[in-house]
Structures are given as C-alpha cells and as structure tokens.
C-alpha cells in the first residue's frame, strides 16, 4: 500500500493557508513521523487524509486511488486516531469499539472477533465494561487506538497519540506502534516528543506553515552510543575502544565516551559483547538520541507559527 499526498492545499477563512502545496508519500511497513510546530498544518493534513476535511486542491491516493473520489474505499483502508479523546458517560469501552466494528461493515461473528482482538492487543480486556469517561488519559488513548485498528486498516494515521501520557504509557504506546509497523501497516504519526518519534519512525516529514521543509530525516545506518566505565578503566579506554571491531569512531564525551557503530539492536549487542570480552564492562551504555530534535530546531528556526 502506497500513500501519496500530492500538492495538498487547504485554506480556511480570511485566506489563511493551513496546508500549502504539501506533498509526501509513504508505504506499508514504514512509520513516518509528521513533525511541525503548533499550527503547522499537521492535524489539518491528517483530517483531510481521514476524509474529515476537504482540500481546496490536491489529492491523496492509496495505491493510486483517490481518497476524495472514493471515500468509501478509503474508509476501509484508513484508521484514524485523532488528538481528541473519546469521553462519554453513556458508552462502555466494549460498546464503543463494537459500534465502530459494525460501522466499518463487519458482520456476525467477525464483530466479536475484531473487538476482542483489538481489546487484547491494546490491553483493554480488563476495562471493557467501564464507561469511557471513567478511564485515564492513557486508557482513552488505547481505546482510540483500538477504535482505529478494529477494521484492520492498511494505513494508520495517528495524531499526537502520546500527548499527555505518563512515561509508562508512552513506552507501551511506542511498542504498540512498532509492532504495528512490523506487521506491515503504513503509519503516519505526529508528535511533539521528537526523541520518541526518532525511536519508532523510519523517516520523518517536517512541515511549517503548511509547507514541507527540505529536511528529511531518514533512519541512519550508523548511531552514536554513550559509554562510561568504572573510573579505573575509564581514563585508558580510548585505545581499546578504537581497536574493538564494530567501532567506527570514538571520542570523549563528558565523563565518558561516545562511539559510532552500526545502528540496530544486534549491532549494539555485538559491541557490548566485544567490549566485555576485552574486560571493558560499561556502567552506562545507551544510544544517543536527539538528531531529529537538532534538525527540527535547525530547519524551523525563526519560522515558528
């Protein structure tokens, strides 16, 4: 499934251009970060993709089929999670998801199968009989995600899914999104927490004032890792680090070191094993983040809406 946003323009009252000739694309298995300052046009773009809004011009296609011309087909392919959370006193979690399963055209036993499946996947099984307003924000986010997933869409559009979540809920959401990406879904996700986006996204699209900025953050093949050893070893670690296979570069950083190595969990585990084999056991070993933050700050500098 290839999602293509082409020359999208959306103007609101008094000529305010929320989205200005925006184009980008992504495919199945990709998790794309959608980044921009407040008022950049992220939510408007996502709402148009979900057919909740109409562009002035431009188009969005799913494998070449226009979302605007064939909204019924698009609805079956797209799952949208808005930043607005469900909150009703008269609807339980199970009823809410059940309604959307029916609304997406599921019939008979498939309804229960889908509802129980997404409840299980999002960890809502123990909360299915609670009314929506009695849930915490994190649980409401899960309900919203379950609702977006109930018809097993090929494309997921998640608008600020981690907004206001506690650290545990964020980590759990990140794992869910990663799992969905690995399952072959095309995911567009917007967030202000750039370090988290960087961890789960294969690339990012940065927009400002409705326009795409010419900086695309691709997942790098190399990564810097922060290291620190016991004081007795720390001072003399540089030569051993440079000789260790898999280390591309090493340099001092604060009271420790940073080494450049191949990205990925396997490469990190291999490096850790090799360092241990050389009696260089680290007390700190973590990948450096913040690349997306740096780029974001650089490209949007002085142009905040």
């Amino acid at each position: 499934m290839k999602v293509e946003v082409t020359n999208l323009v959306k103007t609101f009252n008094r000529g305010f251009r929320a989205v200005d000739d925006l184009s980008f694309s992504f495919s199945s298995g990709e998790v794309i970060g959608f980044v921009g300052p407040n008022g950049a046009g992220k939510t408007t773009t996502m709402r148009i993709m979900a057919t909740l809004d109409t562009p002035d011009s431009g188009d969005i296609t799913l494998d070449g089929v226009s979302v605007l011309d064939h909204p019924d087909e698009a609805h079956r392919l797209i799952g949208f999670m808005p930043d607005d959370l469900p909150s009703r006193t008269d609807t339980t979690v199970d009823e809410y998801i059940d309604f959307f399963a029916r609304a997406y055209g599921l019939r008979g036993a498939a309804i229960r199968r889908a509802v129980e499946g997404v409840e299980d996947f999002t960890g809502l099984t123990g909360f299915r009989d609670r009314t929506l307003n009695a849930l915490s924000k994190g649980m409401k986010q899960r309900v919203s995600l379950a609702r977006a997933l109930v018809h097993d869409p090929a494309v997921l559009i998640l608008d600020e899914p981690a907004n206001g979540l506690d650290p545990r809920a964020r980590i759990e959401l990140r794992e869910l999104v990663k799992a969905l990406g690995e399952n072959g879904k095309a995911i567009l996700i917007s967030s202000h927490i750039l370090t988290e986006l960087e961890e789960m996204c294969s690339s990012s699209v940065i927009i400002e004032r409705g326009r795409r900025l010419k900086a695309e953050v691709e997942a790098s093949s190399e990564v810097w890792i922060k290291l620190r050893f016991l004081p007795a070893v720390n001072e003399n670690a540089l030569p051993i680090l440079l000789e260790t296979p898999g280390v591309i570069a090493a340099e001092p950083s604060g009271n420790g070191w940073r080494v450049k190595t191949a990205s990925g969990d396997e490469a990190a585990a291999a490096l850790l094993g090799k360092l241990s084999a050389r009696n260089l056991v680290p007390i700190l070993f973590e990948p450096e983040l913040g690349k997306l933050e740096d780029i974001f700050m650089h490209v949007t500098k002085g142009n905040l809406a």
Binding site: P82, S87, D90
Partner: protein, 487 residues
C-alpha cells in the same frame, strides 16, 4: 435462503445511549405516573355530580381522558424525545471524536436514518406506555376503536417527523443564522402543509377524536394526514444526510430526488383542497424553492468532484442531470425549475377554478426574493471562479438597477396611495407593495436578470460538467485525467 437482518449500527448506538440517559429513563418512568394523575383529575372533574349508575352505563366520558392522554404523549413524542435527540446530535457534530463515524463505512443517509429510527423506537416505547390510558379512554365510551388505534400511530409518525425536522439544524455545519433560517423556512412549509391538511379534512376547531375520525372517514383526509409526517420525515432525513455528507461528494442528488418525489406526492393536495387553501401549497413550494436558492446563492461552491465523477455517460442525460448535481449553480437551476413546476401546477389549478390576487402577490414576492438570491449567488460564483472584475461590474449594475427600480416603485406607490405611503414603508422594505400591476413586470425583469447572471455563472460550471471524464463514461475513472481544482 437465510435472510440476514442487519440493524443500523447508528440506531443501536443511539438506543444504547438513549436508554442510559437519565432524562429519558426518568421521562419514561414519569410518563405513566403523570398520565395517571391527569386521568384522575380529568375524570373526577367529569364525574362530578354523577351517580354511580350514570358513570357505569350513562354518559360518554372518554373524550376528556383521550384529549389529555394525547396531549401528554404528544409532548413526550413530539417534544422531549426530538429535543433530546437534536441536542445530543448538535453536541456530537461539534466534537472531532464524535464525528469519527463519518470516517467509517457508514453513509450520511445511514447516520441520519439511524438517529431518526432510534428516536422513533423510544417514541414507540412512550406510546406503548400510554396505550393503557388510550384503552381506558375507549372503555369510558364516546370514542371509536379505530380512533383509539389511529391516534398512537399518528403520534408516532408526528414524533418521527418532528425528530427529523429538528435533526436538520443539529446536523448542519452552517452558521447559527443559517440554521435558524433553514428551520424557519422548512417550518413555514410544514405549517402551510398542515393548513392544507386541516382544510382537506375540514377539521377547523374539532377535538382530537373528531379530527382522527374525519381522517379515517375520508381517503383524502387519510392521505393528507399520513403524507405530512411521512413527507416531512423523508425530506428532512435527505436534507440532514446532505448536511452531514463530506463537502466534495455528490450529496445533493439524493436530496433533490427526494424533493422531487415529495413534490409529486403533494400535488394531489392542491386538487383536494379548496381554492384558497390550495394557494398555500404553491406558497409552500415557492418557499422551499426560495430556501434552496438562498442556501445555494450564499454558499457559492462549484460542482463537486463527486458530482462530476458520477455524471451520466450520455450527453443528453448529463444535461438533464445537471440540476441534480451538487454545487451552487445546479442547485439554483433546480430551485428555478421547482418554482416553475409549482407555478405550473398552480396555474392549472387556477385555470380550473379561480384567480387569487393575494396569492399572486405573495408568489411574485417570493420570486423576487429568489431572483435576488440567485443573482447574488451567481455573482459570487463568478467572482470565486476567477471572473472577479466582470462579477464586480455586473454586481454594481445589478445593485443600481434594483435601487432605481425600487425607487420607481416607491414613487409610484406614493403617487397612488399618497396618504398611506409613509405607513407602508416597512412593508415596502420587505417587498410587499400595493401596486401589483407595477410589480409584475419588475419581478419579471428581476427574474430575467437573475437568470442571465445564472446563465453566465452556469457557463463556468456547466462546461466542467459537460467535459469532465466520469467513472460512468469509462467504467473505471482514469485518475490521471481527473485534474481537479476548486475554482
């Protein structure tokens, strides 16, 4: 073959929410209690001074209980339940999360129907709770069984129609002014139709049982009584669905077809009613046409890409389908055709019977309002389509024309009714003038002007409509050919 009945998911959801609502729950509990108290009060009043034998075998006491049961049940079915549904819908349509049902496989028609059906089911429960009291009214004598059965049915139909009418502004994404205007114009049309129904059934100051009895007695009466709520429900459901639909889709087509069907179905009323009341029919349809023209004129959207995509293959059919397409210009063309059709039916009726000056004046006035709306809409559409300079010049000429023409009418009126001229100013401002003879050519001139402007604006949209590649034309739309811009 196994028949699979699938309940509308919206109905199911609405019902779940309605039965959990404390207002509805307490309303249902309170209804029989209130009915019981009201029945005791009415009967104790009616039985005052009667002997037990008179109560048992003598006077017919059913009318009072029937009236009070009908009134209280009507308040619930035609007041509280529609009001609750509309407020709930209004809140829903204002929240992003609640609008998510529009991203599902549900159509806007299914959403509107689901809400109306849920309210109808709750109304049916309310009517069922009132049934013992209707039965008691029958047992108190003086009421026919058919009347006792017909009233709950009519209450149910009336409640459903009221819900549909109220759902219209609740579903609309227009401004509050437009919502009120829409409701007033449709309300006026329904009220006018009600007047015809009353006239057809000849039930001026009758009680409930007499009204229902007269409905049951005459075929025309039964038709009129059922036509009104059913037509209102169908019309409002189609309009609500159009209001809920995504803006780029071809949402007007089902609405226009419904309007045409309701129009055709209402034609017998003209011939069933007396001459004077039949004029109400014409005025009602001119009001509806004016409403369509106003809404289209002041929201100058182009023919939507959904409409272009679904345009017919045959060029002849494409021309015929243009007034049914979604867009401001096709809507204005449809309004003109509808008004013309209404005028034609009225002309036929008038030819058969008499000529009414008053009705002609009102119809001419409505034509003028429609002409101004159409002219304004056509200019706005031209302006948005990139012909701003031409639209500006034509707009100024049109404005000058209207000012001069109206000044001329005013002076003529002062000349004819000099002593009343000042008192007539407020009426004049709303276009109600005494000099009908002067007004007719002016109205015709304004109509011609509006049609010319509409023709200019239609040229822009119709060309796109005529040339556009369609899904119907090639079986499967070629996305590369469908280059689409808003203006």
């Amino acid at each position: 073959m196994k028949l699979k009945l699938q309940i509308n998911p919206v109905t199911l959801k609405e019902l779940r929410q309605l039965v959990r609502s404390r207002i509805i729950l307490w309303g249902m509990v309170a209804l029989p209690i209130v009915l019981l108290i009201a029945m005791i009060v009415v009967l104790s009043d009616d039985m005052h001074g009667m002997s037990p034998m008179e109560v048992m075998y003598g006077n017919s006491l059913g009318e009072g209980p029937l009236n009070v049961t009908t009134l209280i049940t009507a308040i619930v079915t035609c007041g509280l339940i529609p009001l609750f549904t509309c407020i709930k819908t209004m809140i829903e349509t204002s929240r992003t999360n609640e609008r998510l049902e529009f991203t599902t496989a549900l159509t806007s028609s299914q959403i509107a129907s689901g809400k109306i059906a849920a309210a109808a089911i709750i109304s049916a429960i309310a009517v069922a709770l009132a049934m013992p009291f209707f039965a008691l009214s029958y047992l108190m004598r003086g009421i026919e069984l058919s009347t006792t059965v017909a009233i709950p049915v009519l209450l149910l139909l009336g409640g459903t129609a009221t819900t549909a009418l109220g759902l219209l502004p609740a579903c609309s994404r227009r401004s509050i002014v437009w919502k009120i205007l829409l409701l007033i114009l449709l309300g006026v049309a329904v009220w006018l139709f009600s007047a015809i129904v009353v006239a057809v059934m000849n039930i001026g100051n009758s009680g409930v049982h007499e009204i229902v009895a007269s409905i049951l007695l005459s075929l025309a009466g039964a038709f009129a009584a059922i036509f009104l709520p059913v037509a209102t429900t169908a019309y409002c459901r189609a309009q609500a669905a159009a209001e809920l639909a995504p803006p780029h889709t071809d949402f007007n087509r089902p609405l226009r077809i419904t309007q045409l069907v309701v129009f055709a179905a209402s034609v017998p009323l003209v011939f069933a009613a007396d001459e004077e009341e039949s004029m109400l029919w014409g005025i009602a349809w001119i009001a509806i046409a004016g409403m369509i023209a106003l809404c289209a004129g002041f929201s100058p959207t182009p023919v939507t890409r959904g409409a272009i995509l679904h345009s017919p293959r045959s060029k002849i059919l494409r021309v015929l389908a243009f007034p049914f397409a979604t867009g401001s210009v096709p809507s204005m063309v449809f309004a003109i055709l509808l008004a013309t059709a209404a005028a034609a039916v009225m002309a036929l009726r008038t030819y058969i019977t008499l000529d009414f000056d008053y009705a002609k004046k009102i119809i001419v006035f409505m034509y003028e309002c429609g002409a101004v709306a159409i002219a304004a809409g056509a200019l706005a559409r031209m302006s948005l389509a990139g012909n701003a300079r031409i639209a500006n010049v034509i707009g100024k000429i049109g404005l000058a024309y209207i000012v001069i023409v109206n000044l001329f009418i005013f002076l003529a009126e002062v000349h004819v009714v000099s002593e009343e001229a000042l008192a007539l100013v407020p009426c004049y401002l709303f276009g109600v003038v005494q000099m009908f003879e002067v007004h007719v050519p002016i109205a015709v001139a304004m109509g011609v002007g509006a049609v010319v402007l509409l023709f200019c604006a239609a040229g822009i949209d119709f060309t796109r409509w005529w040339k556009a590649p369609t899904r119907a034309s090639n079986g499967n739309v070629n996305e590369d050919k469908l280059v689409w811009r808003q203006h």
